[in-house]
Symmetry: C2
Subunit: 892 residues, 2 copies
């Protein structure tokens, strides 16, 4: 049997249906489906996507059977319409539209009124009794065909049109009478002859073939290729071509065209939402030349049509079991549906519709989960800038912490505090932030820095605080002395209002209206279903009791990463930290550490109490010690100035001594330097203090009746001997503290897996640890050899732009490289220790695709920023639905 290349629909019956999207494209499949379920659709036929594939594989030749099939289907169509293609009396007119599996901009879209020529236009005049209408359709056809099929620029037709209106002294197209339109037809044809060297084709069948060629040709135009590459759409999919009998919404006041949604796409409420234009074609509605009327008007103007239309809405909504986005035309009091498809919606609407449809019995909970794009939830959890706003951002940087904020610009932490106390909203703008700025960051609404990426101090602190931040905004030249930022020609001074959009890395001048977060009842319902389904635990990365509370509110089941270094930055303790670092002897270091112990203990007590009943993974000190010291360069400038201007020699000497100390500690590549467990190994007294603080806090709380589950995490280990040495210190202190308190305590000692070497020796390391937590931020840095801060400010945007990398590997796990390592690590770890608890605490823990990867690779939990916990919960549920895990149950 030969292949079938063309599928007919019409007269209540179609050869295709909605499940044949791969063959007929989305539009074609849905036109067939609507036909089959009795909805009035102008008849037509679809040339399949296979033809497109055959066409390209065969060096732009069509399958030989195609022509015959088209002829047959044209005949059927003529019969269904009782019209004849090219007939001067009763001409059949058609539209030609592209239609791929998924909606794809960049391709040829539509040619309307195809079949008109100087003869058939007379038939149209007769059929409609309206010469002006007929010639308007004709000149529109020539314009569209000339533009999209023949490639004559659109604006050249518009110039002729404008000239004609000017000549006749009219302003609106609709005021052009039949004669003027006849002129236009003539003039358009001349233009086409001039530009293409060919006559405009009169033969309707030739018009059809050329339009078909244009649709298939547009599948390979640069814009379409770029779009496909961006969305990973294979070229083999191809596009279909839909040929459909024309209906007209512009045949008078008893005609109209409209678009509608079966539910409200912005709130999700179950009420029809749409607009229509009387006496207009569909393209007029979209073009926005006249203001459309709300659908309610139709109820009054054409109650029967309205009833028929809304009945169709109900039918489609429940037939497709999803909110539909439809197009319709009423031609002389007769309703035709031209398109239906699942409608785009806001995050809030997505949640509400999914939950409502479960309650309406239309879909299952599983389907509801699969209906909501997890990434979209982010917009529900923060104030956001409406993505559709007209305002242009003044500059772009790294989208370092999501959400948006409006405030007055300040350049110092102290000013931030001052103005915040005076009741002002402020945005802190710095070259980069440092521990010294913490109080100012707590007071500000959002941050803008000119240096640093997503792992910069500003970014990390901002995400922890749930405040928006744009970092690495290199085009913004921040002059902290003069208190101003220069962005090209624009100068922003202290006190000027700006809006920072940390979700998109944008900065706007002035105040932009923000959308409020909306975590309604439906949101909670959906999350509850997700929790029933998922087998992957979700924890949060949280450093403070405040973070912990947020995490719990968002549904976290523990803390997967509590960074202890942020506790070192507090104003009341940074001095002791610096004394500890600059200590010349172990004794002096111990003395400084003794001063820190009570602070750390209280910090841990607060956070452990907040998280009672849940595990809390506490990471031992990780950053290189020089991060806690004053900036080398600032000190260098200070000393140089002192020297140049002259000053007391003792003072200078003291400063120079400090400079030398800092110089010895600083590193060429701090990311790969003396940090992580390397600190606790070379200075075991630091580990001792931290472990003592954790377990004294835990024991005291246990005595008070709290259930406390600490998990001590050794950072940046790469060799099992590091674990051995670290555990020697850790185990000794734990034994000592628990022994002296005489309490029972469940705890674990584990490690972060964030170096390739740790992965490759995960079997050895797994034997000596209770848990692994994949630190995918650093693992990505070392696997790619990318310093995130440097990469994101320099070559990474170029790489993403040129598609050298399809995704930013710091946002979505690079499954080919980093993911491969994770797989090896999980396998080796479990092979050595089947009880090993395995999670992830890199920022990927809150990225939907990465969560799915973690589920598939067999992790016990993911841990992410508190504000991304709901995203992770939903993603985990989706992952379970797509790939159910056997044998493993959710870790609480």
């Amino acid at each position: 049997m030969t292949k079938k290349y063309v599928y007919f629909f019409g007269a209540g019956k179609a050869e295709g249906n909605k499940d044949m999207k791969n063959l007929l494209g989305g539009k074609g499949a849905n036109l067939a489906e609507m036909t089959n379920i009795g909805i009035p659709v102008p008849p037509g036929f679809t040339i399949t996507t296979e033809v497109c594939d055959v066409y390209y594989k065969g060096n732009r030749n069509y399958p030989p059977e195609l022509d015959v099939e088209i002829d047959e289907n044209l005949k059927k169509l003529e019969k269904a319409m009782n019209l004849k293609f090219g007939d001067p009396e009763k001409p059949l007119l058609v539209s030609v539209r592209s239609g791929a599996r998924v909606s794809m901009p960049g391709m040829m879209d539509t040619v309307l009124n195809l079949g008109l020529n100087d003869k058939t236009v007379q038939g149209l005049v007769k059929m409609t009794g309206n010469e002006r209408f007929a010639y308007d359709a004709y000149r529109r056809f020539i314009q569209m065909f000339g533009d999209v099929v023949l490639g004559v620029p659109h604006n050249e037709f518009e110039s002729i049109l404008e000239a004609k209106k000017k000549e006749l002294g009219v302003t609106l197209d609709t005021h052009l009478e039949a004669d003027a339109l006849k002129d236009l037809v003539r003039e358009y044809k001349v233009l086409i002859k001039q530009r293409t060297g060919q006559e405009f084709p009169d033969d309707p069948r030739q018009q059809l073939d050329m339009s078909r060629d244009a649709v298939f040709g547009s599948w390979m135009n640069p814009r379409a290729i770029t779009y496909r590459n961006l969305h990973n759409i294979p070229a083999e999919w191809g596009t279909a071509v839909n040929v459909q009998a024309m209906v007209y919404g512009n045949m008078g006041e008893d005609s109209n065209s409209g678009v509608a949604f079966t539910r409200d796409p912005s709130t999700g409420q179950k009420k029809y939402y749409g607009e229509y234009l009387p006496n207009a074609q569909g393209e007029d509605v979209v073009a926005g030349i006249r203001t459309p009327l709300p659908l309610d008007n139709l109820k009054e103007e054409m109650p029967e049509i309205y009833k028929e239309l809304t009945d169709i809405f109900e039918t489609l909504d429940s037939h497709y079991r999803d909110m539909q986005d439809v197009e319709f035309t009423v031609q002389r009091n007769k309703l035709y549906m031209l398109q239906t498809r699942s409608g785009k919606r806001t995050a809030a609407a997505a949640v509400k519709i999914a939950v409502d449809m479960v309650n309406e019995g239309l879909i299952s909970k599983d389907e509801a989960i699969l209906r909501v794009d997890a990434e979209l939830l982010d917009t529900l959890l923060h104030k956001t800038v409406d993505p559709g706003i007209k305002e242009e951002s003044v500059v772009k940087g790294v989208a370092a912490s999501p959400g948006a904020a409006v405030g007055k610009v300040v350049f110092t932490a102290d000013h931030a505090v001052e103005m915040a106390q005076a009741g002002e909203d402020v945005i802190l703008v710095r070259k980069e932030t440092s521990p010294d700025d913490i109080h100012g960051m707590a007071a500000a609404r959002g941050f803008l820095t000119s240096r640093g990426g997503k792992t910069s101090h500003a970014a990390v602190v901002a995400r922890g605080m749930g405040k928006p931040a744009v970092t690495g905004c290199e085009a913004a030249i921040v002059d902290e002395d003069r208190e101003e930022v220069r962005i090209g020609e624009v100068l922003i001074r202290k006190g000027d209002i700006i809006t920072v959009d940390g979700s998109h890395g944008k900065v706007f001048l002035g105040e932009i209206e923000l959308q409020e977060p909306s975590i309604g009842g439906d949101f909670a319902t959906l999350m509850g279903w997700a929790d029933e389904i998922r087998t992957l635990g979700v924890r949060a990365n949280a450093d403070t009791p405040q973070d912990a509370r947020t995490a719990l509110e968002f549904g976290a089941e523990g803390i997967g990463l509590c960074r202890t270094e942020h506790m070192f930055f507090g104003e009341d303790r940074i001095r002791a930290v610096q004394d500890m670092i600059l200590a010349e002897t172990t004794e002096a270091r111990r003395t400084a550490l003794d001063r820190l112990l009570p602070f750390q203990k209280n910090d841990f007590k607060d956070i452990l109490k907040e998280m009672q009943g849940y595990p809390v993974v506490i990471r031992l000190l990780d950053p290189p010690l020089h991060e806690f010291l004053p900036s080398y360069e600032e000190l260098l400038v200070e000393i140089t100035t002192m020297k140049a201007k002259g000053c007391e020699p003792e003072k200078l000497e003291e400063k120079e001594k400090l400079l030398t100390r800092i110089d010895r500690l600083r590193e060429l590549n701090p990311m790969l330097g003396h940090r992580g467990c390397r600190i606790g190994i070379t200075y075991p007294e630091i580990t001792e203090m931290q472990v003592r603080a954790i377990f004294e806090a835990a024991c005291e709380l246990t005595k008070e009746g709290y259930k406390i589950i600490p998990e001590v995490m050794i950072p940046l280990a790469g060799h099992v001997n590091e674990i051995e040495v670290a555990r020697e210190t850790i185990d000794k202190v734990i034994k000592d503290v628990i022994g002296s308190h005489g309490v029972e305590l469940t705890y674990m000692v584990g490690t972060m897996i964030e170096l390739p070497r740790a992965v490759l020796t995960a079997d050895e390391i797994g034997k000596r640890t209770d848990f692994f937590s994949f630190g995918t931020n650093d693992l990505t840095q070392t696997t790619f050899g990318f310093s995130r801060d440097d990469a994101e400010g320099k070559f990474l945007p170029y790489y993403l732009d040129k598609k050298i990398l399809s995704d930013n590997p710091f946002e979505t796990i690079d499954t080919g490289g980093v993911g491969e390592l994770i797989r090896i690590g999980v396998e080796k770890g479990r092979s050595a220790n089947s009880a090993l608890e395995i999670g992830i605490c890199g920022e990927h823990g809150g990225d939907p695709r990465s969560v799915e990867f973690c589920h598939n690779v067999g992790m016990d939990y993911v841990s992410c920023s508190p504000f991304r916990v709901p995203i992770a919960r939903l993603s985990a549920a989706r992952a379970e639905l797509i790939n159910p895990r056997k044998g493993r149950t959710k870790t609480k």
Copy 2:
């Protein structure tokens, strides 16, 4: 049958032999062997190493059979000697010595004269007719036993001895008469009672048991454990205990003791080498109290003994087929051999002996190769500091480039040039060197820097130039302004002479005599044999024609890494390089690159011509661009000073503009930054210029009749798409240049594999490349997460010291982690492209154990510093002998 725990030797027959070292220890096995081949050895027996293992595994209990076996063997020994243990008339006296498989310091060594007590000493008097001798033996026994078995400090015995000598007004021990020695025996016993609370044991059998216990006990003392850990010796190996009848070299002028080598251990010449002391025990020779006489003296004094002894030398040398290190004693004109073992030797001797023995028909070429420790060759290739020198170094740093040099200290490159032109040898001392110092480095004999590790600029340049460098010498505070270095209390000024030992990272004040390199005919012979045997190619890392010449002289078969960036640093081109980097537009960058092109082309021409007939791997620009710019901090200081002192605003503005530019380019972690292929991808015009320079050079030379084989290497790729993009540029230029020259050219395009991600996707990358070169320096940095510069100056020494890491992974490939990745990379690469040429160009390519690894993993070649090529050649041959490779043949 029960196990045998004790092995007898004596009376011309032994139960053991030389192949039983594992059971009898080295000493015991060789005593047995000598006995068997008829060499006079005092009889005795060996308690096996198994007893040691059983002892420790059984909680320090001996196997029950042991006592009986010792009794039996003591009887045999009594019979062989015709003496009786504990007999007051004819007492048997024995020595007790430890003896493990390999010589191991830190353990109990020796107890002599065991069996003496107040009664048996009388027997000794009678037998020798020498009361003084007998009591001297007795007091020595008590002293030794008290010290090594009972743990009474040696110096307490010495104090008593000194007091006695003072009392009697004598200076030499030998002047103490019998009565004085009797006093000492009494006083020693009192001391032992005081210190241990126990009487000195009189029973010879108890003395023997206690000594045996002490030997086995010393196997687990901390020094022995540390030594074992350092040398990877398993605790299970255990030590044996040798009990042997005493012979005395101190029985008068007809007696003596000596040590000798069967060949000269420092030159390898085939002539006996040794010394002896008349009327002395062996320990006296070693202790160096009297000056021993050369062996030639014995020829005159005791010609028969000398004949017998040298006959034994010949026998042993040819029986063991290796130079032997022997101990002997002549007791009353009778010769006894007490020990034989393979003698330690210098590198020169090792080479000469190995070659000589092949010529003498004693060993095969294969054995000769296996006899020479490849690492030792290094000392033959550079001037070196004699490792045995007495002088203490004033400071230690990183051993960054091997060899040693003496010269006057200078602090600037210009001074270095100036003084070198005046005929002085100079050592350039800097905080760190930079491209600006190149001319000074070329003029200096060696370098000392206070910052940077083995990959610092100074280190890399020094190794390339074959000059010694000590870097990262943090204890040396370099003040370049005052032209002085302060090391603790020591101040070194310009013009002071120092010696830098780059092989050991040491710096000496003043001039130290250096050993000359010695690459004699034997060296060449051995290397020739190595080349016949090995299947692994050896190339060199060379950046200049000079390097290339050295590499060829040392036997390199190509260049495995030619770094193009060093060509950028030349005085005549650095300006164009900086203009290129600071260019604001692609056009401006191209203009600067056009200025560079002729320089690069000439560079490549020179080096390619030098290497004609051999492949030359040329790496495209690798370091981050900011490395070529002036130092940010220096400029900052300059600007700050200008500001403080006031200056022309335009000048300041210009400087500030430059500072901003540099600030934007510099990176937090340059190692993981915008470097490697990322540069050539974002600025393809740089790649274009380099590839054009390479291929124009190659084509022009080809036309001149040279055979040129360029291999273009893309650095730091981690994703196949990077290769795709880079190759697009590269292939186009190659086609263009070759096409326009119209020549035939064999070339390759490949990549460095130096990132974990490249390894994990080596199958994808292998499909698009002709060769892989493992860049194990960076691969080690990323796999471990170690910045080499930072690690070596900070925590790595601690890690090595505490045995957290057994080897420096930057010197020897970490087989557990980095090696695992290399294995994966080779396998994936070859699976995708069986023709893939695979090599290594990290510094590991010159490390013997790493070369062995590369051989085993199936690489085609290693590439290393020119000065390490011979080491690699020998190591490759050894690897082939140990693990012959099937199916692969050497790459030429």
